[in-house]
Symmetry: C2
Subunit: 358 residues, 2 copies
Amino acid sequence: MYAVIMAGGKGTRFWPKSRERMPKHLLDIVSPRTIIQETIERIAPLIPEEHMLIVTGESHADELMKQVPHIPKENVIIEPLGRNTAPCIGLAALHIRRKSPHDVMVVLPADHLIHDAPRFRDLISIAANMAGRGDFLVTIGIRPTGPETGYGYIEKGNLKTAINGEKIYAVKSVREKPPLKQAKAFLKKGGFYWNSGMFVWNVDAILGAIEKWLPGINEGLLQIEDAAGTAGESEAVRRVYETIPSISIDYGVMEKADNTLLIEGDFGWSDMGSWDALWEMSDKDENGNAAMYRDLFLGVDARNSLIHSPRKLVTLLGVEDLIVVDTEDALLICKRGSSQDVKKVVEILEEKKKKEYL
Amino acid sequence: MYAVIMAGGKGTRFWPKSRERMPKHLLDIVSPRTIIQETIERIAPLIPEEHMLIVTGESHADELMKQVPHIPKENVIIEPLGRNTAPCIGLAALHIRRKSPHDVMVVLPADHLIHDAPRFRDLISIAANMAGRGDFLVTIGIRPTGPETGYGYIEKGNLKTAINGEKIYAVKSVREKPPLKQAKAFLKKGGFYWNSGMFVWNVDAILGAIEKWLPGINEGLLQIEDAAGTAGESEAVRRVYETIPSISIDYGVMEKADNTLLIEGDFGWSDMGSWDALWEMSDKDENGNAAMYRDLFLGVDARNSLIHSPRKLVTLLGVEDLIVVDTEDALLICKRGSSQDVKKVVEILEEKKKKEYL
């Protein structure tokens, strides 16, 4: 079994902590370890490090390898450009097929948070068991807690089977990011799950699906495959990526395929899309303040705030509902509930050509 | 004419910028220059630097001399202990009397702000002219803008005279820091002025008044005078200060003397007692934000806040009425209107023995 960790994110939503060279998965905002370190550690009891592949962008590769020195260097696959998840997953599948042609691969985003790691591993094992049985695309669905429009939705079909008592369902339909009205209708109807972006399948199964549903991407992958192991490989990857379509695996394959299966991922999941989401899921003191570095926080009549400050004493006096993020060169103070607007700050800094803060 | 600049303040109210070793007058929170630098520059057109004496505490003397290198070192008078303003003024008067027995001295707190410096100098000149005419204690009164209980109040008496059209009044009474009810009554009655702590008088006049009204302090000063110019001088000062009464000149002399005169100081005065006061008097942008380092401030939907950050980009997003003060090792975020509670923060840090932040 192989793990493919997709580490292509940008994460402007975590500015000023996230920067162009420091996307979310490389940040220590949830614990003293970085999110990708946690992701790797979570799956490590199931999959040895030699079987972990990480796909990442050129500009983040050095920092990433520094953070995960125990992952063999040749397992870090560098994409010259971001082309969404379908080419990324195809590229990783090629790598695995070369080593182990019929193995199962577990696809995991690098920057998601999971509360119950043992439960997560149990379900991944079940999914891998199922994926190993044939030409299936197993997806992990999350039971929705609200009509979010930022996620894709997977509609549960008939019960396919059960393994160790865990139910595995056929998938009736996959709908990428719906408008609010539709998301509300999904929730009302029931049987819809958020697409977590975590997949388990056989290498053959996914490459077959890409061949069938994404012929343009398949063609590019074949060119890369021809150059594999030669001196021209990275040049071939670059050439192909310059023209390969940018398509998500969800839209390109999962919406179309008829061999997808669903397992409910009831292990406490968050893709943690904003500082607000981090406050929501953080441990808080009796005043509702979440400070990872507690010795560096002093609140006087201060409530319901997030404080991220690894090096400096932060004192809040008579304030509430703030997000405070201190870094070496920039400080963000944001009303809680407004952290999606951090993108606006990044846009303004881009307009002003303040590259040093990007 | 001599200037005596009293630089004995502690200024915990400006934490985290002010520290034990860095009281308010040594801070660059109003302009890129420090408050004492501004104070000296303001009076310099009237009084040469060789005629400026600065009285300060031991622990601040080095930093102070660094900030005002053009003031002769022998003009910096060091008090081994803080004993309020009466001993401080008496000690400075002794220094002046030794050089120039009958000269006028202008007493100025180091940490006050004055908007209209030319007007200030005009009135100081008038006051010095009057003080030079005889045994008068001239005080500069500020027209109250509210029933402040933190200031002393001076009740205007009859018109004594006018110099260059500027009226000089007798003083009917001096009342140190009244309760709110009394302060309100003063305002209602009219003719009351805040005591600015700025005085102009002859050396003979103030030493005579101390001899008359503060015999305990006078006795100490005589012992210091005996040792003046000898190797034992600083030892004598220390010995005297250990037992000399700690009394303000307002309470010890001004409340009792019958030779006090009043000039209204209509030059835009503030003793700037808090971060809130700094916001009040600062230039603001169209959103009411006051940031001295404008290039290091970015507000998005942010209003009516004070930002003091000399080195780091501060971004406010969706917030209002905040005081944000960033220093090397500590950050304060305080609701505007609560900055008097900064003292509480300092007290907590003292209790927790967090000396590094004090």
